[in-house]
């Protein structure tokens, strides 16, 4: 359906934050005073626009809810065309809402969080850039344009992780994130190429409508390549290593980009490409497997970290693992992947901002072993954090419960083994989240002497409160009021089989497992005093502290060989290739030096060479004649 009415402003959704970014980044220091407000305003503007569009969309019947807007032909050559064109359908809509609303909250929060930073306009510029790119990602109507948003968010993420570039670790983390993401981008690039070679087009419409005609091998290849892309952006195994380092960025960034939105882009990609995955069984299976592995990796890492943000990052990996996992389940899972994505986006944002609020009061210390007993001093933070805590564990009726429960349910529809694994993951979630709560808000105070914990200003707590409300009620709202299944069904399809176990039994089992996790966590960290210096721990703890050796593997398998190769090639270049060039010059020069000695200065030797030449000429002529 072509865009009309409010939908003719789809481009404005992106343009508003982009404009903000341009003004802030080009304006320089003079925008420092009013720039942050402009940044907030543009994103809020987009959010308002998005809500208006939602309302308009709800006014249409299910079949007419997808609208397209084409601005101009972007890249074209014989047989190839990619338009600068947008598509706003139900799936995009929920993403747009998530991005703009959570984005707005985080922008507002950042006003307080970044108030003392000299470069805050830059920060807001980057954030705006991120929002614009993310919106482009979810609004694009073809893969190539999606790619622009895809790398755009990667860039924004890079810029924001490295925002405090003066810290070498931050700069290194930013670079690492970008490069690992690039590996994923290779997957996306190649997927686009395979699509073009197969379908002659890269627009969603053409690819999905023809997907049935392609052979399964091709579709599997596309699926796997898209999965690679998703792994990069969503920090799934084996490209997970960057996310933990990304916590070097300011906390609002972690909340917005590395929890709520960007890292979920992989989920979006897979769900968006459901037409491909539905017909590529192996690729879908790989998605499930990757999701499962990451659920546990993330959870284990999250259980061992003392850095509150890194622990949350592990949790994020794990939760996105759930989404990927759900997306791999096919039509029974797509809806819930998105559902969990939305609830997670809200509660994880709340958790991160809560963590940020704690750090704000703790002089930016992130070590949970230096926290403790903060519940009395930061009441709002504590309460909102608890909302997120309960939501992430899936305690009814908090929002995470509804979405996670549906995923576990769907997993059981596929097979009890993966279902059981999903429940186990939920149990570990209970453990590490309890550990976090216990170390941060309960127990004894373990602060350093010069730290005076205090509650954050209203500009930070208000978003916390809003997110906490979201963490509490969003699940119910979406499920019962928003009818998320029927909303998304026209785009992603929906199917459900009855499972062997009744949903009540499943629910009970899940809750029991989670509570076991909570219990273990509380026994370990809540009821016992927490040592300020971390005990060495068992092998799993040690491994988890080192991100399960993800960096080590990268270092040994990729980085070191690359640099060795680079050094070797540099040597080869200078000694052999350039050596050959300079060597031939030196050879000629040397020949020159020797040959000039023949010019002895003695007339008689010249005469000899003349005579010799004459004899040779005569001999040669005669020989040629005789032969």
């Amino acid at each position: 359906m072509p865009a009309s009415g409010v939908f003719s402003l789809i481009w404005l959704l992106i343009a508003l934050p982009l404009f903000g970014a341009a003004v802030l980044l080009l304006g320089g220091r003079r925008t420092n005073s009013w720039g942050p407000y402009l940044g907030v305003l543009t994103v809020v503007g987009s959010a308002v626009l998005a809500v208006l569009m939602l309302v308009a969309m709800m006014g249409h019947s299910a079949e007419e809810r997808s609208v397209g807007q084409s601005l101009f032909t972007w890249v074209f050559a014989d047989g190839f065309q990619a338009d600068m064109a947008f598509q706003l359908d139900q799936l995009s809509m929920v993403f747009v809402l998530l991005i703009t609303i959570v984005g707005s909250l985080i922008h507002i929060y950042s006003i307080g969080y970044m108030s003392h930073d000299a470069d805050k306009r830059k920060f807001f510029g980057y954030l705006n850039l991120f929002v614009a790119a993310m919106l482009l990602l979810v609004l694009a109507n073809n893969y190539l344009l999606l790619y622009v948003g895809w790398e755009g968010v990667g860039l924004a993420s890079y810029l924001l992780i490295g925002f405090w570039q003066i810290k070498p670790t931050a700069a290194a983390a930013a670079k690492k994130a970008f490069i690992i993401n690039r590996v994923g981008d290779v997957g996306l690039s190649l997927a686009i190429m395979v699509m073009f070679v197969t379908f002659g087009s890269v627009s969603f419409g053409d690819v999905f409508s023809q997907a049935g005609e392609a052979n399964e091998g091709t579709l599997t290849a596309i699926g796997l390549l898209l999965l690679l892309a998703a792994c990069g952006k969503s920090a799934q195994f084996p490209l997970q290593a960057w996310l933990l380092d990304a916590m070097e960025g300011p906390t609002p960034v972690s909340a917005l980009i590395h929890a709520a939105t960007m890292v979920t882009a992989g989920v979006y990609l897979i769900v968006r490409s459901n037409a491909v995955f539905d017909r590529a069984v192996w690729a879908a299976g790989a998605v499930v497997l990757i999701g499962l592995i990451t659920i546990f990796m993330g959870a284990i890492i999250g259980s061992a970290k003392d850095d509150i943000k890194k622990s949350l990052a592990g949790s994020t990996m794990s939760q996105i693992g759930y989404m990927i996992f759900a997306a791999g389940l096919g039509p029974i899972g797509y809806v819930f992947a998105i559902f969990h994505l939305l609830t997670h986006g809200v509660f994880k944002a709340g958790l991160f901002l809560g963590a940020g609020s704690v750090m704000h009061g703790m002089k930016d210390n992130v070590n949970m072993r230096r926290y403790g007993a903060l519940r009395g001093l930061m009441i709002i933070t504590f309460v909102t954090f608890m909302a997120g805590y309960l939501a992430i564990m899936g305690i009814p009726p908090f929002s995470g419960f509804w979405s996670k429960d549906e995923i576990i349910h769907a997993a059981f529809e596929r097979s009890w083994v993966i279902g059981a694994a999903a429940i186990l993951g939920a149990g570990i979630t209970g453990f590490y989240m309890t550990r976090m709560i216990a170390m941060t808000f309960f127990g004894k105070a373990r602060w350093e002497d010069d730290v005076h914990p205090h509650e954050s200003p209203a500009v930070m707590t208000i978003p916390l409160v809003i997110l906490a409300i979201g963490s509490t009620f969003l699940g119910m709202a979406l499920l019962f009021w928003g009818n998320i299944e029927t909303w998304l069904e026209p785009v992603v399809g929906f199917a459900s089989n009855p499972t062997q176990l009744s949903s009540t039994t499943l629910l009970a089992i899940t809750l029991v497992v989670v509570l076991i996790g909570v219990f273990i966590g509380w026994r370990q960290y809540g009821s016992k005093p927490v040592p300020v210096d971390a005990p060495s721990g068992n092998w799993l703890t040690r491994a988890a502290r080192r991100d399960l050796y993800g960096d080590l593997v990268n270092e040994v398998v990729v980085v070191r060989p690359s640099f060795t190769l680079a050094r070797w090639l540099t040597w080869f270049d200078s000694s052999w290739i350039d050596g050959f060039v300079n060597g031939s010059a030196a050879f000629v020069g040397g020949a020159s030096g020797r040959l000039r000695r023949t010019q002895s200065g003695f007339a008689r030797s010249y005469a000899l060479s003349m005579l010799g030449g004459a004899v040779l000429i005569v001999a040669a002529l005669v020989l040629v004649r005789l032969s």
């Binding site: 980044l25 101009f72 032909t73 290779v186 690359s562 190769l565 680079a566 090639l569 290739i577």
Partner: protein, 511 residues
């Protein structure tokens, strides 16, 4: 009909002469005059480009032809197709930028003649316009060779400590390539005399000429060798790092940004249409060289401590992409290559100029290890540097992405695995570009840079057009594609290559 191309070429030439004739005591006047002339040229280019008819069926537009050396069938013939047009536009755009950026690069105290530098730039502009506009093979060759001379002087006279070595290496390497091309070109002339009875260097007459296959292969080699040195493709590249590191930033911009494009331009304009069968025969070799170059350049760049050398190796890697796109014989690949040429010109300009501004603030050092923390001390400079780096790593949304993606897509379309492997190159590109940024711009401020100033107005003015163009053309590449696509289609028709069609569609048509 207005002789647009001749006017366009003559304006900077006259400007060059005028600048030389100025008194030595008026260096500022020389700069102002050079700037004015280059801006006039740019304006003329814009006016000309607006009159270019993208849909025309003529192979060349703005055609002029006068006999020059009839004894050898040589004429002064100019004309542009879309490819030539955009490259001329690139040259005339970059020249004023280089003039502004290089405003203080040369001063009388450092022993260099100010007016000489700017006169050389203008002379180069003439030659660059001519080389892209020539439709006579001999004329092309002449300009191709002569252009070495101003660059030689620009490197040798105004360059860094290694300038003599670099200049001589550059010139000799270029001459060697040119001489082989000369041999081939003469061979072509002789063949044309045998085939048509009248030897000619006219491009359009030579295209489609029947040749003995063996002769064609040999003649192709001569041309290709010259272009491979110019572009430079692996393994003929070692002059480039030396030349780049010894040059002034402005020289390097013109050298790598525009001049080296003559190599890839030559491949698509001369190698392919004149020697279609040989091009096909050698395509695997060229693709191999290109592929090696992509990774080789990137890996070596990863290990460089000299910024300018790093850019040189990075360019070599990019030239690998460009050559790849040309020799896979797909419309998308070749269009992509042309876009990539423009994009690379712009990103090279951005890189070298920002790096140049940076180096000025560090007493001319170009060692990465001498830098660090610039971001804090000079955010504007760092911002431009970031942008240049992103442009170099082909961030989607920038024009380099359009080029790179089209090249990869075109490659993939023809050779699945080559395309797949080449795509991996984007990771290493990111690695070395970001490593450079990390080492030079982030972290604590390097001791050498204490008290450094951020970019001034002039420097920002020089860089801004590049940024704007890179972004604008990245989001709206139609101005390039509209004129380049028809030209590429013509090349494809000439060499008789057809694009592979999508599997689904072809199955559909097969049914």
């Amino acid at each position: 009909m207005t002789p647009w191309l001749t006017i366009l070429a003559l304006v900077p030439l006259m400007g060059s002469v005028l600048v030389v004739l100025l008194p030595k005591s008026r260096p500022t006047l020389a700069k102002q005059l050079a700037l004015a002339i280059s801006l006039v040229t740019l304006a003329l280019t814009v006016v000309m480009a607006l009159q270019f008819n993208g849909a025309s069926s003529e192979p060349f537009q703005f055609v002029e032809s006068y006999p020059w050396i009839p004894a050898f069938g040589i004429s002064y013939s100019v004309g542009v197709d879309g490819i030539g047009l955009v490259l001329i536009a690139l040259a005339t755009t970059l020249v004023p930028i280089v003039v502004i950026a290089g405003w203080r690069d040369v001063d009388a105290t450092s022993g260099g003649s100010v007016k000489g530098y700017f006169a050389l730039i203008l002379a180069m502009e003439t030659l660059m316009i001519g080389v892209f506009a020539a439709t006579d093979v001999f004329m092309f060759f002449v300009l191709f060779e002569v252009i070495l001379i101003p660059v030689y002087f620009m490197i040798g006279r105004y360059g860094g400590p290694q300038r003599s070595y670099a200049a001589v290496k550059f010139l000799l390497y270029g001459l060697l390539g040119g001489l082989f091309m000369l041999t081939s070109m003469i061979g072509l002339y002789v063949v044309s005399a045998q085939v048509t009875g009248q030897g000619t260097f006219d491009y359009l007459s030579l295209v489609g000429m029947e040749m003995d296959p063996t002769a064609e292969k040999l003649l192709f080699l001569g041309f290709f060798f010259a272009f491979a040195i110019k572009a430079p493709l692996w393994p003929f590249h070692t002059w480039l790092p030396d030349a780049a590191s010894a040059s002034k930033p402005g020289t390097a911009v013109l050298l790598i940004g525009v001049l080296d494009k003559i190599g890839t331009f030559g491949m698509i304009r001369y190698c392919l249409p004149i020697f279609p069968a040989a091009s096909e025969f050698y395509a695997p070799v060229v693709i191999g060289m290109a592929l090696v170059g992509i990774f080789y350049g990137a890996y070596v760049a990863l290990n460089q401590n000299d910024m300018k050398r790093l850019f040189a190796y990075s360019s070599m890697s990019h030239f690998g992409f460009i050559a790849l796109g040309i020799f896979v014989f797909t419309t998308i690949g070749q269009s992509g290559s042309v876009v990539y040429m423009i994009a690379h010109g712009l990103s090279t300009a951005a890189l070298f100029l920002t790096a140049g501004f940076l180096m000025q603030r560090a007493n001319g050092s170009s060692l990465i290890s001498d830098f660090g923390g610039v971001n804090k001390a000079a955010p504007v400079l760092a911002g431009f540097f970031m942008f240049a780096a992103l442009s170099s790593l082909a961030l989607p949304g920038l024009v380099s992405f359009v080029g790179e993606f089209m090249v990869l897509l075109g490659t993939f379309q023809r050779y699945l695995f080559v395309g797949g492997i080449a795509t991996l190159g984007i990771v290493i590109t990111a690695a070395y570009v970001l490593r450079l940024y990390q080492k030079s711009m982030t972290g604590p401020l390097a001791p050498k840079l204490v008290g450094m100033k951020d970019l001034g107005g002039r420097e920002v003015i020089a860089l801004m057009p590049i940024v704007v163009l890179t972004l604008l053309l990245g989001l709206f590449p139609a101005p390039i594609l509209n004129v380049v696509n028809p030209a590429v289609d013509r090349v494809m028709t000439t060499i008789g290559a057809t694009d592979p069609s999508p599997t689904i569609a072809s199955e559909g048509s097969g049914k």
